[in-house]
């Protein structure tokens, strides 16, 4: 079953301004950047799948993501409607 994580349940504790990289922990900060990118990619995929399932058009999805329709389609068209 397709479910989207509710932002309120996962980002409760998130306040990036309180988590700016500590100069002594640069490796951890860079690892967090990689993990955030991966997480954002997966979150985007799940949100777009849900949008397609609900009948959103690629034009609407692109607008919501702030990219062109061509860019959205090129990157995410492998997701099944």
């Amino acid at each position: 079953m397709l479910t989207i994580l509710r932002p309120s349940t996962i980002i409760d504790a998130m306040d990036l301004t309180r988590h700016l990289p500590d100069p002594d922990q640069v490796a951890e900060a860079l690892a967090a950047v990689v993990a955030l990118r991966q997480f954002a990619d997966h979150y985007e995929e799940r949100a777009v799948k849900l949008a397609l399932k609900q009948g959103w058009s690629w034009a609407q999805i692109a607008e919501a993501l702030g990219v062109t329709k061509q860019a959205a389609h090129r990157r995410l068209s492998h997701l099944k409607r």
Binding site: H19, A32, H78
Partner: protein
């Protein structure tokens, strides 16, 4: 001359097999951590041998990859269960050209230019582990570190597996 050609042909087949397996695991552009998992499927068995010497299973390494993502997200205050931190991506259409994530590309390049190549040894799964042992900050390196395996330990286990295979 003939031996060199035969080894090169064998190496091309090994790299192709490795890349295909890594791509199937990553379901996108594979990084060095996916190449480590793929190396365990190679028929020479040296990567599996090295893992056995380290007392690590494929499942434990895969879990360590997920766990290091969860740790990294946790370090910026984002609490996500390990399974949700980096779930498998949706399968993307295969491109005509093989494309690996930068960490995967760098790893293959290092492996191909390893000193063992100069010694005209055919590539084997543990060569991937030997190349990964040079990494300090990659996802694969962090996963091994999470399992308590140091770079030298990984390199030693890989070398022993390769020597055992050659003899």
């Amino acid at each position: 001359m003939f031996k060199t050609l035969r080894i090169r042909f064998q190496d091309v087949r090994t790299i192709a097999r490795l890349c295909t397996a890594a791509e199937n695991i990553a379901r996108a552009e594979p990084g060095s951590e996916h190449l480590v998992l793929a190396s365990l499927d190679l028929p020479d068995g040296t990567a599996r041998d090295a893992f056995a010497r380290l007392g690590v299973s494929r499942e434990a390494f895969a879990e360590a990859i997920q766990a290091q993502f969860a740790d990294a997200l946790g370090s910026v205050g984002l609490q996500v269960p390990a399974a949700e931190a980096a779930p498998p991506a949706s399968a993307k259409p295969h491109s005509m050209l093989y494309r690996a994530a930068p960490s995967g590309q760098a790893l293959i390049e290092r492996m191909v230019h390893s000193p063992r190549r100069a010694a005209r040894q055919p590539l084997a799964g543990a060569d991937i582990l030997l190349a990964v042992a040079e990494e300090q900050f990659s996802i694969a390196a962090r996963a091994f570190a999470r399992l308590g395996i140091r770079q030298e330990q990984l390199a030693d286990a890989a070398m022993q597996a390769l020597e055992g295979h050659a003899s």
